[in-house]
């Protein structure tokens, strides 16, 4: 499990990991691919299916899969992998393609103008005061 995210690191230190040292360039992880195979958003939910994976998973895919044990967002996986969102999406799409992960895009019914949704948020926030 990666530790604390880097804080205020200058650009040239973005790929520096406390334990691993200098990290490889991001698109290397995705095998040079720069586009996910399906539409996936930062707030798409992903979750491991538990189905056996027949393909051999590389370390990055395995790590991504391990972070999907419970339903979570692409953004959280990307942060924990310390990979750019686009590279994380490529890895996760691979996992969806091989049946290891389910995904769901943000609900278009969760319209920001939907008063019922806003009321639900309001009540939850007020309980936190």
């Amino acid at each position: 499990m990666p530790g604390t995210p880097p804080r205020g690191t200058p650009d040239d230190e973005h790929w520096f990991d406390d334990a691993a040292g200098k990290l490889i360039r991001p698109y290397t992880v995705s095998g040079g691919r720069t586009e996910p195979t399906m539409r996936m958003e930062l707030l798409s939910m992903v979750m491991a299916t538990g189905r056996p994976v027949h393909n051999q998973l590389g370390p990055d895919h395995s790590m991504a899969l391990g972070l999907c044990a419970e339903a979570t967002t692409v953004a959280e996986i990307a942060a924990r992998l310390r990979l750019p969102a686009v590279v994380t999406k490529i890895l996760l799409c691979d996992l969806v393609d091989c049946g290891a992960v389910d995904t769901r895009a943000p609900d278009p019914l969760a319209d920001p103008t939907n008063p019922a949704v806003l009321e639900t948020i309001l009540n939850a926030l007020q309980r936190r005061l």
């Binding site: 930062l42 942060a79 969102a85 389910d102 769901r104 609900d107």
Partner: protein
Amino acid sequence: MPYKEGSEFFSTALKLLIAGGFGVGKTTFVGTVSEIAPLRTEEILTTASIGTDDLSGVERKSTTTVAMDFGRITISSEYVLYLFGTPGQERFWFMWDELSNGAIGAVVLADTRRLEDCFAAVDFFESRGIDFLVAVNEFDPDYRYEPGDVRGALDLKPEIPVIFCDARDRKSATGVLISLIKYLLETHVDSPSLENGAPA
């Protein structure tokens, strides 16, 4: 399609944006209200079309990396609220379309000593049609302004709430979010006016 059969396991993630000038306390704000320690995610953006003068002396870059700090608040079994704050590099995250698409609303954090720092965020949300309020993070009581002063300086429409907060204080920062949601309800529902004063 795998997502259909599994959809009952998934909650819906909703998005609020926390914007403002550099060093105004956005990441602090996110950390104060979030139920998890703030995480950072990055995206690689193509910047070929940006007309920026900030890279003078640097070869014209084709991509740049933009970082976002974010936290989350579980609303219910059905909804999770994500708060995305911009740690810096304002002019680049404006290009991160995916971030602003589908946002419920936004908080523009302002520092009265450097109000002009949040002009860009105000312009951005106005142009994108994203409803927002302005929360003045009070670093220094000596610089206390009236909401009207801030409104005038930022040339805000009269309906946009201006409130004061302490981004380090959980109740105060949560109060900002409550004010924002109340404002959104007012904006989207034909209801009598709700209070939109200072948070508790």
